[in-house]
């Protein structure tokens, strides 16, 4: 009986989590534009998506930013994790603390404090400010992912390398980096999805010249339901799911 109640409860939660997504997917294949009733299967909304250059450009910009910011954030984040794991110096705790605070900070606070910084520095909002915003968002997450990977390392390997005459850079490039690659890749995929999914930080750090996909969707959605937005959302969910599966696989291998 208890077991039965447990499964019912679990199914209800999954229903709650997935029903809206299922309904959206349903609409994206429904020939009828407005009503819930099934008017036959169609792919025309997906076709419309392909011809909507506005959306296409926004999607391309989103991907560009996601790839670039994930890559930059991974480099900075891995070095940060390496430093935190490898070196003992004054202020180490403070850095750990500030990374944690940056991770927990509400997006809107990160967004507007960067906006204030960019305005004060006299930057024009657009590609570069958006990129910096996304890198800022991702670095703490990468650092945490890679750091937890470092903790599983056998330190004696590093000590042996040092005894054999390796310098700090060689230790990093020959030992730490190869061992960190799964963490690095997982961090990259994590950053990629974080960047692709971000709405709030993009909202504040980009300008009218560089509109990314979530913001484009945002302005479309405020005007009501659009079948091609449904189709686009389904495409984005599929991309996310693939990224999640990939990162899970990579994380598991190391375990």
């Amino acid at each position: 009986m208890m077991q039965f109640l447990k499964s019912v409860y679990a199914w209800l939660i999954y229903l709650f989590l997935y029903l809206p997504l299922a309904v959206m997917a349903f609409y994206s294949f429904n020939a009828s534009k407005y009503s819930l009733t099934w008017k036959g299967f169609t792919l025309k909304w997906y076709g419309k998506l392909l011809t909507n250059t506005n959306l296409f450009d926004a999607a391309l910009r989103s991907l560009t930013i996601a790839i670039l910011s994930a890559t930059i954030a991974c480099i900075i984040g891995t070095l940060t994790a390496f430093m935190l794991h490898q070196y003992r110096f004054r202020g180490r705790k403070a850095i750990l603390g500030s990374l944690f605070v940056m991770m927990m900070s509400p997006d809107i606070v990160i967004g507007i404090s960067l906006l204030v910084l960019f305005l004060a520095a006299g930057f024009t909002l657009g590609f570069w400010t958006l990129l910096m915003g996304h890198v800022t968002l991702c670095v703490p997450f990468v650092a945490a992912t890679v750091y937890s990977r470092f903790e599983g390392f056998d330190i004696s390997v590093i000590e042996a390398a040092k005894d054999l005459g390796a310098n700090e850079y060689q230790v990093f490039s020959r030992i730490i980096l190869p061992m960190a690659i799964p963490g690095f890749v997982a961090g990259w995929l994590l950053s990629f999805t974080l960047s692709l999914d971000d709405v709030i930080i993009s909202f504040f750090t980009t300008g009218p010249t560089y509109e990314v996909l979530p913001l484009r969707i945002y302005s479309m959605v405020r005007l009501g339901i659009k079948p091609d937005v449904n189709a686009l959302s389904v495409v984005m969910i599929v991309i996310t799911v693939v990224a999640v599966f990939l990162s899970r696989r990579l994380l598991k291998e190391k375990r």
Binding site: L17, L21, M104, M236, I237, V244
Partner: protein, 284 residues
């Protein structure tokens, strides 16, 4: 030896510099701006004063802030009440099973929250799935008006943030040593008592981090009220955004976000306390 230190220093100072430029300095600037005065034509007047903070307590703004805090807090509580048993079920399920169940939570967790919010519209609108189902079941005659109300915003918050509660709860419950529960039962505690005295204290870090991950975004996600709520439903996030972009009262917006940061600081402090406490209670 020299290049040894070169790499080390480069990494340390590079990282510190990065955190300073994109973490510390913007925060300090924001705090600084909040003490200034706004000026017409989007300029800030460089004169120190507390007027923005005093205005936060102003009835019109104060009510909005309290309403928004209340909304976020109730969403957080409901997520906890719904999420805890669920996380417990996943954590206690067979290993193979629980991994699959967890993956199913991860997918909505990583899906763009804007898209998920928008997906909810099709469920909640007058001729949406929810109303159609309720009418089909004969529970209601006329469609409920949910869209563009505070209820819709509330549902939206819970829907988008529930995975953020479940995942840390799962992590905490999974780490729990279930032998401790058996021991407490052996020593005569009933189910409820061992839950209250053993399970809850030991999973407190998970409870608090889940609560933080729900509460803080719930205050700031301005697009949820925009898409699901009516014109008058507002969260602190909408207010902050409007101060920056519409009213162009930057000091006021800065003061509101400093307040939000202080709330976060308070929650982080509670988190650390609970981490320490649970560390102490694990030891026999």
């Amino acid at each position: 030896m020299k290049d040894n230190h070169f790499f080390k220093n480069l990494v340390i100072w590079g990282t510190i510099g990065w955190i300073a430029i994109f973490g510390a300095i913007p925060t300090l600037m924001l705090t600084g701006v909040s003490f200034l005065k706004s000026h017409t034509s989007n300029l800030i007047k460089p004169s120190f004063n507390l007027s923005s903070y005093i205005r936060l307590a102003d009835p019109t703004i104060g009510t909005m802030v309290i309403k928004s805090l209340f909304m976020a807090a109730s969403a957080m509580l409901l997520c906890l009440l719904i999420g805890y048993p669920f996380a417990y079920i996943i954590a206690r399920a067979e290993k193979r099973h629980s991994r699959r169940m967890l993956l199913l939570v991860m997918i909505p967790f990583w899906t763009n929250t804007l898209i998920r919010t928008y997906a909810l519209v099709a469920v909640l609108k007058a001729d949406g799935v929810l109303n159609k189902t309720l009418m089909f079941l004969g529970l209601i005659d006329t469609p409920l008006k949910i869209m563009y109300t505070q209820t819709a915003v509330f549902i939206g918050l819970i829907y988008t943030l529930l995975p953020f509660m479940i995942l840390p709860l799962y992590a905490a419950i999974e780490k729990l040593d279930f032998r401790l529960l058996e021991a407490s039962r052996d020593l005569g505690a009933n189910r409820w008592k061992s839950f209250r005295k053993v399970t809850i204290p030991l999973t407190m870090p998970g409870i608090i981090s889940g609560c933080m991950l729900v509460f803080l975004p719930a205050l700031g996600m301005f697009y949820i009220p925009d898409i699901l709520g009516g014109a008058r439903t507002m969260l602190l996030g909408n207010y902050i955004r409007d101060q920056f972009l519409t009213s162009q009262d930057i000091p006021m917006g800065a003061a509101a976000s400093v307040a939000l940061t202080l709330i976060m600081g308070l929650m982080l402090l509670t988190y650390y306390r609970s981490l320490k406490n649970s560390g102490r209670t694990i030891r026999p």
